[in-house]
C-alpha cells in the first residue's frame, strides 16, 4: 500500500515506438448504475444528488439484523443487458459475498456475483477507423461476463488539500449511493487492436453506453458516475504468446479519458519494458487534468476476498420463457440502428462516422425526435460545442449536460432560422450565447438584439440606396449578368449591419432590376 505523497513522473515511450515493438492487450471493466426506482436489495430511492443519508435504511446501512431482498427490475435489467451483449443467460446463478473492509461499504462485504454471473460469453461489435485509414470497420469485443452487484457509499475527505485522500484528517461518509444496483460488464482480453487500441477502447465504451441508453436501463452519465470504467492494460512483445503483467487504471470516467488512459498506459508500459524493467501489478489512478496515471495500491495476497455464496439470498434461476420474452424487448442492435439512422438522416458515410466517433448519435436522435432536421442537429452538435467540449476534455453529451444545453435548444434555434428571424451568422452568435448560459435561443436573440430586419420599408430603402450608388453594377444585372448581384447584396448587408436575410435581399434586388 502506497502512502507516499511524493509523486514521481513516469517515463513514457513514444507511441509509434510502442506500437512498433509491442501488442497491447486490454481488459475493460465497466460498472453501470441501473436507474431502477429502488436500490438493489432494499426499497430506498436512488435519486442522484439527494441530501446526504436521506436515502438509507437498515438494509443499505448494513445495520445488524437487516436482510437483503433482490430488486426484480434489477434482475430483469441484468438479463436484458446480457442479451443485448449477445451473452448466454445463466439458468441458475447465485450472489456471493466479496469480503473486504472499507468504510464506505456498510457490511464490509459487497454482495456481488463471483463464479456464477447472470450473463456470460457475449460480444459487442464496435466501429473503429479502418486499418487502411479509409472509412470504418467493425471490431468485435468479446464479453467475459456481466454480473449484478451493489454500489458503495461516498466518502468526502476532510482536512487535507482539496478533498484528496492523502493528508486528510478524517472522512465523511454518505450512504445514499450504497446499495444502488450495479451491473459490472467485463470484457475478455482484447487482442489485435494494435495501434488502434485507444480508439477501440473508446469505441467500446461509447458503444456500450449507446446500447445501455437504448435499453433504457441506466442514465449512463459518466460525469455523474452512473457509468464508470476501469482499464486493464498490458503489453506483450510482438510475436510473443504470453500476456505481460497488467496495470488496472481505476475510474476513467469519460470517453475521451478512456482513449487517453489507454494511450498513456501503453506509453508508460513501453518505457518500463524498453528500459529492461518489469511492470508492477497494481491499481493506478487516472488524472483527468494532467492526462497521466499514478501508482495506487499494489496487488497482494491481502486481496483475498474470501468469496462464498451469499446465504441471505436465494439463487436466481430465470425461467427460459421469461428470458425469451425479455429478448423480444431488446432495442435494435446499435450497428443496424446506425445504418438505419444514416439512411433516415441522409448523412454521408463520412458524416456518419464523425457523428459516431464524437458520440453524437443519441444526441442527434433526441434532437430529431424533438423536431429538428437531421442536418441542423448534426450541424449544431458537431460545431462550436464539440470544439469546446474537446478543449475541456469531455465528450459532447457530457459537456452539454454540464452546460444545460438540450435538444430543445437546437430545435428552437433551427426554427428561428427557418422562420426567417435569424440568418446563419446570427444563429451562430445566438448559439454562442446559449453555450455561454445566457438562456434559450429566443432569450439570447432578444437580449443581444439579434433579429433580421423584417421591416420591408427599411430594406427597400437600403436596396434603393445601394442601387443608386452603384449604377454600373445595376446595369450589368439589368443586362442579365445575375451573378453580379452578390456585390450589391454585400453592400446592403453592410448597411443593414448584418441584420437582414441575404436571400430576401437578393430577391428584392433582382425584382427591382429585371
Amino acid at each position: 500500500m502506497s502512502t507516499s505523497t511524493q509523486r514521481t513522473t513516469d517515463a513514457v515511450l513514444d507511441y509509434d515506438d510502442v506500437v512498433a515493438a509491442y501488442d497491447p492487450v486490454m481488459g475493460l471493466e465497466v460498472h453501470v448504475e441501473l436507474h431502477t426506482n429502488t436500490k438493489m436489495f432494499c426499497g430506498c430511492p436512488t435519486a442522484f444528488g439527494a441530501e446526504p443519508n436521506t436515502q438509507v435504511c437498515p438494509v443499505c446501512l448494513g445495520l445488524p439484523g437487516a436482510l437483503p431482498v433482490v430488486n426484480a427490475v434489477a434482475v430483469e435489467s441484468a438479463i436484458r443487458i446480457g442479451l443485448a451483449l449477445n451473452c448466454e443467460i445463466a439458468s441458475w446463478c447465485r450472489f456471493a459475498r466479496k469480503n473486504y473492509f472499507y468504510p464506505d461499504m456498510p457490511k464490509n462485504f459487497q454482495t456481488s456475483q463471483y463464479d456464477e454471473p447472470i450473463a456470460f460469453n457475449g460480444w459487442l461489435d464496435v466501429e473503429v477507423p479502418a486499418e487502411s485509414g479509409e472509412g470504418t470497420e467493425v471490431f468485435r469485443v468479446e464479453i467475459e461476463r456481466a454480473h449484478m452487484e451493489e454500489d458503495t457509499g461516498k466518502s468526502t475527505h476532510v482536512g487535507g488539500a482539496t478533498g484528496r485522500i492523502h493528508g486528510a484528517t478524517h472522512s465523511l461518509v454518505d450512504y445514499n449511493r450504497a446499495g444502488i444496483p450495479l451491473i459490472e460488464i467485463v470484457t475478455k482480453p482484447i487482442l489485435g487492436a494494435g495501434e488502434r487500441a485507444p480508439e477501440v477502447a473508446r469505441a467500446y465504451v461509447a458503444g456500450l453506453r449507446d446500447l445501455l441508453k437504448a435499453l433504457d436501463v441506466s442514465d449512463v452519465r459518466m460525469e455523474q458516475g452512473s457509468m464508470r470504467c476501469d482499464v486493464n492494460l498490458s503489453l506483450m512483445p510482438k510475436g510473443a504468446d504470453r500476456f505481460g503483467t497488467r496495470s488496472e487504471t481505476k475510474n476513467v470516467n469519460s470517453l475521451r479519458s478512456v482513449e487517453r488512459a489507454v494511450r498513456y498506459e501503453m506509453c508508460r508500459h513501453g518505457a518500463v519494458l524498453q528500459g529492461g524493467g518489469s511492470i508492477v501489478q497494481e491499481t493506478r489512478h487516472w488524472h483527468e487534468d494532467t492526462g497521466v496515471t499514478t501508482s495506487g495500491r499494489e496487488k497482494s495476497d491481502a486481496d483475498d476476498y474470501r468469496y462464498f455464496p451469499e446465504p441471505d439470498l436465494v439463487p436466481v434461476a430465470p425461467p427460459r420463457e421469461w428470458v425469451e420474452q425479455l429478448r423480444t424487448t431488446l432495442p435494435e442492435p446499435p450497428a443496424e440502428r446506425r445504418k438505419r439512422l444514416q439512411s433516415d438522416w441522409g448523412f454521408s458515410d463520412l458524416e456518419m462516422r464523425d457523428v459516431v466517433n464524437a458520440g453524437l448519435v443519441e444526441l442527434i436522435q433526441e434532437t430529431v425526435v424533438a423536431g429538428a432536421s437531421p442536418a441542423a442537429a448534426r450541424k449544431w452538435w458537431s460545431g462550436e460545442i464539440a470544439r469546446r467540449a474537446n478543449a475541456e476534455g469531455q465528450d459532447v453529451p457530457t459537456y452539454a449536460a454540464v452546460l444545460g444545453v438540450t435538444p430543445r435548444h437546437v430545435v428552437e434555434l433551427e426554427s428561428l432560422v427557418t422562420s426567417g428571424r435569424l440568418n446563419d451568422s446570427m444563429a451562430r452568435q445566438v448559439w454562442e450565447g446559449v453555450l455561454a448560459g445566457e438562456g434559450t435561443p429566443t432569450e439570447v436573440s432578444d437580449a443581444r438584439g439579434l433579429e433580421l430586419v423584417q421591416d420591408s420599408g427599411a430594406l427597400e430603402a437600403a436596396v434603393d440606396e445601394v442601387i443608386a450608388a452603384n449604377p454600373d453594377i445595376a446595369d450589368k444585372i439589368r443586362d442579365g449578368k445575375v451573378q453580379a448581384v452578390g456585390a450589391l447584396i454585400g453592400q446592403v448587408m453592410k448597411t443593414m449591419k448584418g441584420q437582414a436575410d441575404a436571400s430576401a435581399v437578393r430577391e428584392l434586388i433582382i425584382a427591382k432590376l429585371t
Binding site: G65, N99, N108, Y307, P311
Partner: protein, 516 residues
C-alpha cells in the same frame, strides 16, 4: 390470585385468564417484573429490563380489551426476547461489548409480530456473545445461571431465555438456534424449546451469526405454549429472502391432539449411546417406552455422515460468521476504540483496535477460523468440503424420513455442567451440540422436551424430536404426547422440583468472564 401463582401458570392459561377478564395484562406484567426484581440478581437472565415499555404495552392491551376490541388470543401475556433480535428503541447488544448501548431504529419481524399480537416485552435476555457458545459464559456481561443450580451453566447461547422461563421471570421467551441454542438450554433447564424449519420464522432483525443456520423460535415451559408462540412468530416475511411462502403447518392443533398412534419414530444410532451421560440415556430410553406405549412404532435409523456434522458445522458457522460480523467496525454504530497513543490513527487501525477490544475470545477464535476456512487456497479443503458434507447429511435425513415420521435423540449429551469446566477446551464445549447440529445443517425443525432428571445428579435431561422440513407439527404431536405421559407419571411439572431461587445463596463470581 397471588402474583407467585400467576407467574407459574403457562402462557396458554394466562391467555385464557386474560380473555376471561380474571386478570389484567398490567397485573401479569407487574407480577413478572416483581419476579425479575426478586431473582434476577441471582440468575442474570436479563441484560435489559424494560419495565416502562412492558407496562405501557400491557396498559394498551387492557384498554383495548376493555373497549371491546377483539384481540389476538395471547394478547397481554408478557414475553422476554433474546438480545440478538432488534427492538426499536430498546438496547440490543447480542451479549457483546462492541454493541454496548446500541439502540436499533427498527424492530425485527419477530418482534413486530409479538407487538402485533399484543405481547408486552419484558426485556432482552442474556446470551453468549453473538450466540457463540453453549453455556452463556461467553456473554460480555457475565453469565446466566441455571435455576436448578446456580453454579451451573444454563446452556447456550440462549441461556438467558431458557433461564428466564425456567425461573418464572417470563411465561415464555424468544430464542434463536444456530446449532442448538434453543434446544440445548431447554434441555439443561428443564424447559421446552423449538427450532422451527429454516425459513419458517423470519430472520429479519435477527443479528446474524450464521445466516444459513440461524432460526428464531419459542422457549416455553410447555409444548402447547411453544406451539402457540410458534404460530405468533412464524409464517412468510417478504423482508427475508429465505422465508418460506407456504402456510405454517398446524402446530397448535398438533400440540392439542398430542397423538402419536401409528407414528414411526426413528432412533438415530449415531445420536445415542456412546458419549451420552448414563442418566441422560436412561431418561431417553424411558421416554421412548412412553411413546411406544402411546401407540408409536420405533425404528432404528443410521445416518453415518452425522459423525462429520460437528466438523462441518464448525467450518460453515465460522465462515459465515466471519463475514456477518465484519460490519462491526466502529464506523456507523457501536463501540469505537482508538489504538493506544495514536490519536492520528487511520480508519483501518481504529477498526482493528475496536474489534480487538469489542469482541471476546470465542468470537475472535471463530472469526479467525472462518477467515481461514474461506481464504483462497483453503476454501475447497475446508468450506467447500463442509458444504458437500452438509448435502450428505441432508440426504441421509431425507432417507431416514422415508423410514420414520420423526427422528429422536437425547437433546444434549450431558446435564448442565459447572461454570468454567469447558471454557478452556473449545472442542469439549462444541461437543454439547453434537445432537442438535445436524438439524441446523439440514434446515429441519427440532424440539427439546424435558424427559426428567438424571438420577446421578438430579439435573434436567432433554428429549429431542426432529421432523422433515415444514412438518413442524409432528414435533408438537410427539412432544405433547410425551409431555402428557411424563406429567401423569410425575404428578407435577418438572420445574416444580427445582429449588426456590430466592432461597439460594447469592453466587460468587462464577467465571473468568464474570471477573473481568
Amino acid at each position: 390470585m397471588t402474583s407467585s401463582d400467576l407467574i407459574r401458570r403457562t402462557a396458554a392459561e394466562l391467555a385464557d385468564l386474560l380473555t376471561a377478564g380474571e386478570v389484567s395484562s398490567r397485573e401479569l406484567t407487574e407480577a413478572h417484573l416483581e419476579r425479575v426484581s426478586a431473582v434476577d440478581e441471582r440468575i442474570h437472565a436479563y441484560l435489559h429490563v424494560d419495565a416502562e415499555g412492558a407496562l405501557a404495552a400491557a396498559a394498551d392491551v387492557d384498554r383495548r380489551r376493555a373497549a371491546g376490541e377483539s384481540l389476538p388470543a395471547a394478547a397481554g401475556v408478557p414475553i422476554a426476547v433474546k438480545d440478538v433480535l432488534t427492538t426499536k428503541g430498546l438496547p440490543t447488544t447480542c451479549g457483546s461489548r462492541i454493541l454496548e448501548g446500541w439502540i436499533p431504529p427498527y424492530d425485527a419481524t419477530v418482534v413486530r409480530r409479538l407487538k402485533e399480537a399484543g405481547l408486552p416485552i419484558l426485556g432482552k435476555t442474556n446470551m453468549d456473545e453473538f450466540a457463540m457458545g453453549s453455556s452463556t459464559e461467553h456473554s460480555a456481561y457475565g453469565p446466566t445461571r441455571n435455576p436448578w443450580d446456580l453454579e451451573r451453566i444454563p446452556g447456550g447461547s440462549g441461556g438467558g431465555s431458557a433461564a428466564a422461563v425456567g425461573s418464572f421471570q417470563a411465561p415464555w421467551a424468544i430464542g434463536t438456534d444456530t446449532g442448538g441454542s434453543i434446544r440445548q438450554p431447554a434441555a439443561v433447564t428443564g424447559t421446552v424449546g423449538t427450532k422451527p424449519t429454516y425459513g419458517g420464522v423470519s430472520r429479519y432483525g435477527l443479528v446474524a451469526l450464521a445466516s444459513s443456520l440461524d432460526q428464531a423460535g419459542p422457549c416455553t415451559r410447555t409444548v402447547l405454549d411453544a406451539a402457540l408462540l410458534h404460530e405468533i412468530i412464524g409464517g412468510h416475511d417478504p423482508m427475508d429472502s429465505t422465508s418460506i411462502a407456504d402456510p405454517l403447518p398446524p402446530v397448535v392443533e398438533a400440540a392439542r391432539r398430542a397423538d402419536v398412534s401409528g407414528m414411526r419414530i426413528g432412533i438415530v444410532r449415531e445420536l445415542t449411546g456412546e458419549g451420552f451421560q448414563a442418566g441422560v440415556q436412561q431418561r431417553f430410553d424411558e421416554a421412548v417406552a412412553h411413546l411406544v406405549d402411546a401407540g408409536a412404532e420405533v425404528v432404528e435409523v443410521s445416518c453415518p455422515s452425522f459423525t462429520y456434522a460437528l466438523a462441518t458445522y464448525y467450518l460453515i458457522l465460522p465462515s459465515e460468521a466471519s463475514s456477518n460480523l465484519a460490519k462491526f467496525d466502529a464506523m456507523r454504530y457501536g463501540m469505537r476504540v482508538w489504538p493506544e497513543g495514536a490519536p492520528d490513527a487511520s480508519a483501518e487501525q481504529v477498526m482493528a483496535a475496536t474489534r480487538d477490544a469489542g469482541f471476546g475470545d470465542e468470537v475472535k477464535r471463530r472469526i479467525i477460523l472462518g477467515t481461514y476456512a474461506l481464504s483462497s487456497g483453503y476454501y475447497d479443503a475446508y468450506y467447500g468440503s463442509a458444504q458437500k458434507v452438509r448435502r450428505l447429511i441432508a440426504n441421509e435425513f431425507a432417507a431416514a424420513f422415508t423410514r420414520a415420521d420423526v427422528l429422536i435423540s437425547p437433546t444434549a449429551p450431558t446435564t448442565a455442567f459447572r461454570f468454567g469446566d469447558k471454557l478452556d477446551d473449545p472442542m469439549a464445549m462444541y461437543l454439547n451440540d453434537i445432537a442438535t447440529i445436524p438439524a441446523n445443517l439440514a434446515g429441519l425443525p427440532g424440539i427439546s422436551v424435558p424427559s426428567g432428571l438424571a438420577p446421578e445428579d438430579g439435573l434436567p435431561t432433554g428429549f429431542q424430536v426432529l421432523a422433515p422440513a415444514m412438518a413442524d407439527d409432528r414435533l408438537y404431536a410427539v412432544g405433547a404426547a410425551l409431555e402428557a405421559r411424563l406429567l401423569a407419571e410425575w404428578a407435577a411439572p418438572l420445574l416444580d422440583g427445582a429449588p426456590d431461587v430466592t432461597s439460594l445463596p447469592m453466587p460468587a463470581a462464577a467465571t473468568k468472564e464474570d471477573a473481568r
